[in-house]
Point group: C2
Chain length 191, copies 2
DNA sequence: GTCTATAGGTGGATAGAC
DNA sequence: GTCTATCCACCTATAGAC
């Protein structure tokens, strides 16, 4: 299956941003890796922030789709959380952050449209987690005190932070322990 | 008390890096804020990565000193953890990340000397937390399963991630809840 | 759609006067 | 130690031929 030029550009750009950040890449970097010219890239994405915005919306769609897939395939809340954790392992292995985690760090330097899109990612993402936590507590599978929303935010923070610190420490195995440990904390003690 | 020009430059640079990142600031930015010229900055810090390195070593000294102060003033492990959490609140309010958290995201774009210095920050930092967790568990004040080192990494990740996501979400009140919630998790149920 | 060429600006860094 | 002036590499973006 051959992907379109646009998708190819977005794939390369996403990998670079997740590794080095939005402010540390240029059209020249992408052109070199895709094997084309800077001007050609501008034909597909007129400005860098246009490219950045498409990057975020595509990423958000993909992640929310993956979460939907987890939702439909699995019924156990605990397994949903484990599958959620698995989504991060691949990124960790390639020493990449979550695209929106990286962009959150650079948030103040982004165009307004990109800032809003990054916020939307975290909103949708945390809403999904909140629902999983609520339904899991309801059927007795999960156990925790207080608002599910706060726990959802804590889980998101932990994973984003694990990816962040892993970029410096390169101790991915231990970070995997961290993430699995975090999820198992929510398992009901009685089950 | 009048601070030296060097300290003034470092203060301004640190604030910018913690807000916008290392790759999104220039000598021109600092010069404008300090009220001097780019050439004058180069007199104090010959290259940008020299400035960056001093930024990291100064920050690490300050943080490790603050942790030492907590260590000498307080004997309760739980209170030490709470004081640790307090260190992050100020940063959160100004919508700044931990300097080394920001630099961890940009890690691959930094000079080798800066990369090593950032690693050293996390090493020293996590060692301190590990010791607090171990001594707290020993005297029955704290309760947790498994290796203290893994828990120390999890706590560091959570705080770094909370600061990261807060930059996008600006929901600092909730992030404070997240951080306090995280610490109280370690309180012994019996006490 | 792709290219070469280039505009117009900013990056880090240096020379040399004061 | 501070400045102005300048270098050169690179940035985003555009013009215009093919």
């Amino acid at each position: 299956m051959v992907q379109s030029k646009q998708e190819q550009i977005l794939d390369v750009a996403e990998a670079i941003v997740r590794s080095r950040g939005y402010n540390a890449f240029s059209y020249a970097d992408i052109a070199a890796e895709v094997g084309t010219s800077k001007a050609s890239l501008h034909h597909h994405f007129a400005t860098k922030s246009d490219l950045g915005l498409r990057l975020v919306t595509r990423f958000t769609q993909n992640v929310l789709q993956a979460l939907d897939d987890i939702e439909t395939v699995h019924s156990s809340a605990l397994i949903k959380l484990r599958e959620y954790a698995r989504l991060f392992e691949g990124a960790m292995e390639e020493n990449q952050m979550c695209l929106c985690g990286m962009l959150a760090a650079e948030h103040e330097t982004l165009s307004e449209a990109m800032q809003v899109a990054v916020n939307d990612f975290f909103d949708g993402h945390e809403r999904w987690l909140e629902q999983v936590l609520l339904s899991g507590r309801e059927n007795g599978e999960l156990e925790f005190d207080g608002e599910a929303k706060v726990h959802a935010q804590a889980i998101v923070s932990s994973f984003q932070g694990a990816l962040l610190v892993a970029k410096s420490q390169r101790s991915m195995k231990r970070m995997n322990l961290v993430s699995s440990h975090l999820v198992e904390n929510y398992r009901a003690k009685s089950s």
